[in-house]
Amino acid sequence: MKMKKTAYPYVLWLGIFIVIPLLLILYFAFTRGDSQNFSTFTFSLDNFKRFFTPIYLKVLGRSVNLAFISTILCLIIGYPAAYIISKEKVSKRNIMILMFVIPMWMNFLLRTYAWLTLLGRNGLINSIITKIGLQPLDLIYNDKAVLLGMVYNFLPFMVLPIYSVLVKIDKSLIEAAEDLGANRITVFSKVIFPLSIPGIMTGITMVFIPAVSTFIISSLLGGNKYNLIGNLIEQQFRWTGDWHFGSSMSIILMIFILITMAFTSKFDKDKEGGGGGLW
């Protein structure tokens, strides 16, 4: 069938709106000059030199650290959930999985903001605590609140791919292991868990990437004192206007993501199904 021509408009689109913009970011990252006037650009490594100073490295460290912890938390909380759901009857598990998707349909800024109502100084949780007679807690504008926001927003991204791998596991493999005398723990650790690793890896990628690059969760729940690398990039492009420095940070962020993907794709043999598994 000679129908490959139908892809040409999109190939053109890919070139203009995906490849060229990334090349422009790369170009900006390695030049200095007046951001609004392309003729003033000269090659320079200053953007990267500036980034590799303690202030900015600390921000990068905190972003990676928070994203890492929230990914682990999502895995610890999400795996049992995915496992429990995958054991349910077909009709019930479809509804339960749908219940993980439905919250994503409400604007995520609003959902995150609603946590302020729950966690704030006069929020619902603190009013219960003070009713019991205890001192109110500082629940927002700290690292823990940002972590909570990340886990809250990205937990479904961990549960869905793990679930979709778990339900596809051939039941006869589990029966075979049981027939051969394996107990439930051995069946899980030797059969089910190893077979679910591709799902875990997809989940890790899908949680880590948005978590490491977010700037909204940190600015809503972290107050303004807890900057992440996403906040820095946002500031450079929206307020400070130093697009060169912003671009260099975008490149660094992309490198981090490439490293994560290289790590996770090692375990993920079924690569073409990886990203599509969620849908």
Partner: protein, 263 residues
């Protein structure tokens, strides 16, 4: 028995965690006070005010207009692209598919700023056009990813048979290929629509001159205090989406039944 109880409790706690903020939002859309956290009685006034708030209605208008346009355009480009890609030879197929994954896997913020730089480079005025172009750009890959599996499942010889029987390639595409991959196209269009409605990051960087969508409006409100009107609006949208979901669910159930009968 105890084991089952623990499982129940665990799933209950997770769903409580996921739904607590949503319940709070919906409850406070009926609250007779502007402040968060204080319940001052039941009211419907925010729902009435919603239909008088010009800013929010304008943002809603742009959100829906951009979502509809970008869903339609990205579905058309994406469907044809998927058909083309599935007929490409090995290497170029791999290159295009990998490039297609870039906007999916890249952080939103990187896609957003790279498009922002491009639009500045092309000297486009930031506003409706730039926002629409950027939405189409991040929607197409998802359309392709939902159409491609359907093309894989399809019998390759169907279109060839149609053309052997005298159909022009375009006629074969219209009468054979497209109906066969329709479920994938519809899924792709729905994903594109919901992604566009929900997007904040990419819109935030690529809009200008009084054009804003609901997410941007909400973000600026979080700086100066949320107007409960927005709670009312999102409650309505949430209910609307739930109804849409029920309809889609009914449809797929019916489809599956019909498929079962054919078998």
């Amino acid at each position: 028995m105890v084991n089952k109880g623990i499982k129940r409790l665990y799933t209950f706690l997770i769903f409580l965690f996921l739904y607590a903020p949503i319940i709070v939002l919906i409850v406070f859309s009926f609250n007779n006070s502007k402040s968060r956290g204080v319940w001052a009685g039941f009211t419907l006034k925010w729902y009435i005010e919603l239909f008088q708030d010009a800013n929010i209605l304008k943002a809603l208008y742009y959100t829906i207009l951009i979502a509809v346009l970008s869903a339609i355009i990205s579905t058309i480009i994406g469907t044809f692209a998927a058909i083309g890609i599935s007929n490409m030879p090995g290497i170029s197929k791999k290159i295009v598919l990998n490039l297609n994954y870039l906007p999916v896997l890249n952080p939103d913020i990187v896609t957003a700023v790279s498009l922002m730089v491009l639009f500045r480079f092309l000297r486009l005025d930031f506003g409706f056009t730039t926002m629409l172009l950027s939405h189409i750009t991040f929607c197409i890959p998802y359309v392709i990813l939902s159409v491609l599996p359907k093309l894989k499942q399809m019998n390759k010889h169907l279109a060839e048979a149609a053309m052997d029987l005298g159909a022009t390639p375009f006629y074969a595409l219209r009468k054979v290929v497209i109906p066969e991959i329709m479920p994938g196209i519809i899924t792709g269009a729905l994903i594109a629509f919901t992604l566009s409605v929900d997007d904040f990051v990419i819109s935030f960087f690529n809009t200008g001159k009084g054009v804003s969508n609901l997410s941007i409006e909400i973000f600026s409100m979080t700086r100066r205090g949320i107007n409960p009107v927005i709670n009312a609006l999102s409650t309505l949208m949430f209910v609307g989406l739930m109804i849409m979901l029920l309809i889609i669910n009914k449809r797929t159930e019916k489809n599956e039944l019909e498929k079962g009968e054919i078998r």
